[in-house]
C-alpha cells in the first residue's frame, strides 16, 4: 500500500477555500471568490486524477493511504486520522471532485447576482471537503465526521435563501426538516456502529473503528460470526443510509430540499451527498453479503422506494420536484442493486446517475434562470427554440435516464435489472418486476417533463434567453459524459459477442475493493455469464422495449392527445389526488408523529409546571422557614466560636506582621542562612562519616 500525503491536500484545499471565502470573501470581490472557490475544487480534481492515474490506472493497482495522525488514544482504543483510497474511493473521488468542479463553475453564472455570493461558495467548498472526508476516511469515526459535515452543509444550503420575502420561512423549514429527518437516520447509523464496535471488541478483542481492520476480522472469523446480530447491525446501518439517501420511510426531506439553489440540488441532492448511503452500503459489502435477510430488506425498500417515488413523479408540475422524485426513485434503484448483492452495479448506476441527473438539474436551473424564476412546467413549453443548448443537453440526459442505448443510463440500469433477475434471492424476481415497471414509469414521466417544457408553445410571459457560458459549459460537459459515461461498463456478454473482449471495465476495476465473493457470495453461486448470455440479451431487449413504450405513451399523451391527461385525472379523482399529494405521506407523518409529539409535550410541560415545580417550591418554602430557627443558633453559637478564633489569629498576626518588613534583602538573607543550615544538617545526618573524615583531613578534628 503506497503512502501519499497529497491525499491531505485533496481535502484541505477545498477547506482552505471555505476558510478564505468565509473570512475574506466579502472583501475581495466576486471574481476572486469564484476563482478561489472553483480553483480549489478543480485542483482537487486534478490531484485526484493524478492519484488515479499514478496509483490505479497503470498496472500496479494498489490502495493508497496517507500518513497517520493520532487523534484519539485511550488504552487499546486508538483512532487515527488516516486517509485511505482504494478503487471504490477513487471512483467516488473522481465523481465528487469532477462533477463538483463542473457545478462550481456553473454556480459562478447561476449565483452571480446573489448578495451572499461568497457565503454560497464557502458552503459549497466546505461541502466538497466534508464529502471527500466521508469517502476517504479510513476510520469509521472519520467517515462519520464527514457524514455529519455534509448534513450540516446540506442544511445550510437548503435554507440558503432564508431571507427570501415570500418563501424564506418555508426555505428554512425545509432545511430543518432535512436536518431532523437525517437525525433519525443518523441515530440508527450510530447505534449500528456501536453494536458492531462492541460486538467485535468483546468477541474478538479488536476494539477498532478502522474499516480495513473490521474487514480483516470479519474475513478471518467468518464462521464464528453471529449472523442475526450482524443482520440487525446491517439493518441499522441501512437505516442511516435511508436517511441520507432518502429512502422510504425517510425520503420526505429530499423533495423539500429543492428549496435550495439549483446547483446545490444538482451537487448535493442528486449527484453526491445522497449517494453517501449507497457508498456506505457498498463499503460494508463484506458484512451485508453475510446477511441475506438484511439484503432482502435493502432490496425491498429500494424497490418500493423506486416505484413509489416514480408514481409521484408522474403527477408533479414543479420541474425540480419531478427531478427530486426521480432522484429518490433512482436512489431506490441503487439500493435495489445493493439488495441483490450487485454492489458494483449500484456504484455504476451511482456514477452514471451523477452525470445525467446533475445535467438534468443544471438544465432545469438553466431553464429557471432563463425564464426568470419560473418553476411550474405548466407555464413553460416551446423552450426548444429559445434555449437550444439547454434543450439538447436536457434531452440527452432525459434519454439517458430513460435507458435508451448507447447512453449511460441504459448500461447501468440494465446491469441492475440483469443482476436482480439472475439473483437467486427469493426477492430477486419480484424486485426485477418492480424495477421494470419503474423503468417504464421513469421513461414516461421524464419525457412528459421534456415535452411539457421544451415542446409546444410557450405558455409563460417572461422574456426567455439562453444562459451564460459558464452555465452552458457545465451542461455540455455533463451531457457528453451522460452519453459516453456508460461505455466503461458495457456488459461482458455484449462485448464478447461484438468485439470479443471483456468490456465491463468498471466491474473489473472495482473487483479489487469489492471482491467477487462479497459481490455474489451466497447469492450468485451457480450463475455464470456463459449460460445466461442469451437471457441477458432478451432482458436487454425487454428493458429497451419498456423504455420505448414509456416514451411513446408520454408522446401520445402530451404531444398527440393533450386532453387525455386531464380526462384521466378527472375520471379517477381519488387516485390522482392521492398521488398528486404524494400519497399524503407528509400529512400522515404530521398526524402520526409530529402532532402527538407536540400534544404530549404540552402535557409534559403542564405536568412539569404543576407537579414537579410545585413539589420543589413546597420544599423550598419549608426549608426557608426552618432555616430561620437554625439561623438564631448559628448567629449566637457558631459565629461566636469563629469570631473568637479569628480574633486570636488577628492578634497573633499583628505580632508576626513585624517580621514582614517588605525588605527583600531581609527575606533573602533569612532564606540564605536557613538554606545553609538545612544543607549543613542534611549533610551531617546523611554523610556524617565523610564530614568527619574531611574535618580530620583539615586538621580540625
Amino acid at each position: 500500500m503506497g503512502t501519499n500525503n497529497m491525499l491531505f491536500a485533496v481535502i484541505l484545499l477545498p477547506f482552505a477555500g471555505f476558510l478564505f471565502n468565509l473570512l475574506a470573501g466579502s472583501f475581495v470581490g466576486k471574481k476572486l471568490v469564484s476563482l478561489v472557490g472553483c480553483g480549489v475544487v478543480i485542483i482537487s480534481f486534478i490531484l485526484s486524477a493524478q492519484i488515479f492515474m499514478s496509483s490505479f490506472l497503470q498496472g500496479a493497482s494498489t490502495a493508497v493511504q496517507s500518513n497517520s495522525i493520532r487523534w484519539i488514544d485511550v488504552l487499546d482504543f486508538n483512532v487515527d486520522i488516516t486517509l485511505y483510497v482504494d478503487h471504490l474511493t477513487i471512483v467516488m473521488m473522481l465523481v465528487v471532485t469532477g462533477v463538483g468542479s463542473l457545478i462550481h463553475i456553473y454556480s459562478v453564472g447561476y449565483m452571480h447576482d446573489d448578495k451572499r455570493f461568497n457565503r454560497y461558495f464557502s458552503y459549497i467548498n466546505l461541502f466538497t471537503s466534508f464529502m471527500l472526508l466521508l469517502i476517504m476516511g479510513k476510520s469509521l469515526l472519520l467517515m462519520f465526521v464527514g457524514w455529519e459535515g455534509v448534513g450540516l452543509c446540506s442544511y445550510l444550503l437548503i435554507g440558503f435563501w432564508f431571507d427570501d420575502k415570500e418563501k424564506g420561512i418555508s426555505n428554512s423549514l425545509a432545511g430543518m426538516k432535512a436536518f431532523i429527518v437525517n437525525r433519525v437516520g443518523d441515530l440508527s447509523f450510530t447505534i449500528g456502529l456501536m453494536i458492531l464496535f462492541t460486538y467485535l471488541g468483546e468477541k474478538f478483542n479488536v476494539w477498532t473503528l478502522d474499516i480495513l481492520k473490521i474487514k480483516d476480522v470479519v474475513a478471518t472469523n467468518e464462521t464464528a460470526l453471529n449472523i442475526p446480530l450482524l443482520t440487525a447491525v446491517c439493518i441499522l446501518l441501512f437505516g442511516g443510509a435511508c436517511g441520507k439517501s432518502a429512502q422510504i420511510p425517510l425520503y420526505v426531506w429530499l423533495p423539500d430540499a429543492m428549496a435550495g439553489p439549483t446547483p446545490v440540488s444538482a451537487l448535493i441532492h442528486a449527484a453526491t451527498m445522497v449517494t453517501a448511503g449507497v457508498y456506505m452500503v457498498a463499503r460494508f459489502n463484506f458484512i451485508f453479503a453475510l446477511c441475506p435477510t438484511a439484503l432482502a430488506v435493502v432490496a425491498l425498500v429500494g424497490a418500493t422506494t423506486a416505484l413509489f417515488a416514480a408514481t409521484i413523479g408522474m403527477t408533479q408540475f414543479d420541474i425540480k420536484k419531478v427531478l427530486a422524485y426521480s432522484t429518490v426513485s433512482q436512489l431506490g434503484y441503487m439500493f435495489l442493486a445493493c439488495g441483490v448483492g450487485a454492489f458494483i452495479a449500484a456504484i455504476f448506476h451511482l456514477v452514471t446517475h451523477a452525470f445525467f441527473k446533475a445535467c438534468l438539474f443544471l438544465g432545469s436551473g438553466s431553464v429557471i434562470h432563463g425564464t426568470g424564476g419560473e418553476q411550474d412546467i405548466r407555464h413553460m413549453g416551446g423552450l426548444r427554440k429559445k434555449m437550444p443548448i439547454t434543450f439538447i443537453t436536457f434531452a440527452i440526459a432525459t434519454i439517458a435516464i430513460a435507458g435508451i442505448p448507447p447512453l449511460a443510463g441504459f448500461f447501468s440500469k440494465d446491469e441492475i435489472l440483469w443482476k436482480a433477475f439472475s439473483s437467486n434471492l427469493a426477492v430477486g424476481k419480484l424486485v426485477w418486476i418492480i424495477g421494470l415497471i419503474t423503468a417504464f414509469i421513469t421513461a414516461f414521466y421524464m419525457f412528459r417533463l421534456l415535452f411539457l417544457t421544451f415542446f409546444g408553445d410557450y405558455r409563460g410571459h417572461h422574456h426567455v434567453h439562453e444562459s451564460p457560458f459558464t452555465m452552458v459549459f457545465a451542461l455540455i460537459v455533463l451531457a457528453t459524459l451522460s452519453v459516453i459515461g456508460g461505455w466503461v461498463g458495457i456488459p461482458d456478454a455484449l462485448g464478447e459477442k461484438v468485439i470479443h473482449t471483456q468490456t465491463n471495465k468498471f466491474e473489473h476495476f472495482l473487483d479489487k475493493s469489492i471482491p467477487h465473493e462479497a459481490k455474489s457470495g451466497p447469492l450468485h453461486k451457480e450463475n455464470s455469464h456463459e449460460h445466461h448470455s442469451s437471457a441477458e440479451f432478451i432482458l436487454m431487449g425487454v428493458s429497451i422495449l419498456v423504455a420505448l413504450s414509456g416514451i411513446f405513451l408520454a408522446y401520445y399523451l402530451y404531444m398527440k392527445k393533450k386532453e387525455i391527461p386531464a380526462k384521466i385525472a378527472s375520471s379517477f379523482p381519488e387516485l390522482y389526488n392521492t398521488i398528486y399529494n404524494k400519497y399524503f405521506v407528509d400529512e400522515a407523518y404530521s398526524s402520526a408523529i409530529v402532532q402527538p409529539l407536540i400534544a404530549s409535550s404540552v402535557q409534559t410541560c403542564r405536568f412539569d409546571n404543576t407537579a414537579v415545580d410545585g413539589s420543589v417550591n413546597t420544599i423550598a418554602y419549608s426549608t426557608g422557614n426552618s432555616s430561620k430557627y437554625v439561623g438564631v443558633f448559628d448567629n449566637n453559637a457558631v459565629d461566636a466560636a469563629v469570631n473568637g478564633v479569628a480574633n486570636e489569629v488577628y492578634s497573633t498576626g499583628g505580632q508576626l506582621r513585624l517580621l514582614q518588613s517588605g525588605n527583600i534583602k531581609m527575606y533573602l538573607s533569612i532564606a540564605v542562612v536557613s538554606s545553609i543550615l538545612i544543607m549543613a544538617v542534611l549533610w551531617s545526618i546523611l554523610e556524617w562519616k565523610q564530614v568527619k573524615d574531611f574535618l580530620v583531613s583539615l586538621g580540625l578534628l
Binding site: 538573607s669 540564605v672 545553609i676 544543607m679 574531611f694
Partner: protein, 170 residues
C-alpha cells in the same frame, strides 16, 4: 598530560578567571553601567565554558538569549530608569560585615560539597554534539514542559507589554 589537555586547561582557567573577576565586578562595582557590562563578561565566559564542555547548543543559546536579549533589556532598563545626563551612574550598595560573613560561610559549604563528591559519580566526558538529541528530546520527552514554556512566554510577553505601557489618562 597531553599538550591538548594543557591547552584546554589554559582556556578553562582564562575563562574561569574572567568569569570570577566579572562577577566580582558585578557584585562590587559602584558604577551602574559598568556593572551591566561586567555581567556581559560573566555571560560570555560562561558561554565559553559551555563550549568547552561541548554543550554546543547551550553555548549558542546562552549568547543568543542572555547577551542578545536579556542584557540588552537590562541596559535599556538602566537607561530608562535613570536620568542619563551623567555617565557615572552610582550604584549604591549596603554592605556589612555580617553579609560578607554569611556569604563566605555559604561559599565554604558549597565548596565542601563540591570537594566531597561521592565516588560513584562516573567521570567520563561526552564528546558527541548534542544539538540533534536536544531537538529530538524537545519534541518527544520534554514536549509538555516545552509547550508549557511557550504558553508561559506568551503570557510574559503580554504581561510585560501590559505593565510597561503608558497609562491612558482619561
Amino acid at each position: 598530560m597531553s599538550l591538548n589537555e594543557i591547552l584546554l586547561n589554559i582556556i578553562f582557567y582564562a575563562l574561569a578567571l574572567t568569569g570570577l573577576f566579572s562577577s566580582f565586578m558585578v557584585a562590587t562595582s559602584t558604577n551602574m553601567v559598568r556593572t551591566a557590562f561586567s555581567l556581559l563578561g560573566v555571560l560570555f565566559s560562561f558561554a565559553g565554558l559551555y563550549g568547552l564542555l561541548r554543550a554546543d547548543f547551550l553555548f549558542a543559546a546562552q549568547i543568543l538569549v542572555y547577551v542578545g536579549g536579556i542584557l540588552v533589556l537590562i541596559i535599556f532598563a538602566i537607561m530608562l530608569t535613570h536620568k542619563i545626563a551623567n555617565v557615572n551612574l552610582s550604584n549604591e550598595s549596603t554592605s556589612s560585615s555580617t553579609v560578607i560573613a554569611v556569604v563566605c560561610i555559604l561559599f565554604a559549604v558549597l565548596v565542601f560539597i563540591a570537594l566531597t563528591l561521592p565516588e560513584y559519580i562516573k567521570i567520563n566526558q561526552r564528546n558527541k554534539p548534542l544539538t540533534e538529541m536536544i531537538g529530538n528530546n524537545l519534541l518527544s520527552d520534554s514536549l509538555l514542559p516545552f509547550e508549557i514554556l511557550s504558553v508561559l512566554l506568551l503570557a510574559c510577553l503580554i504581561g510585560a507589554v501590559y505593565l510597561a505601557r503608558k497609562e491612558v489618562k482619561e
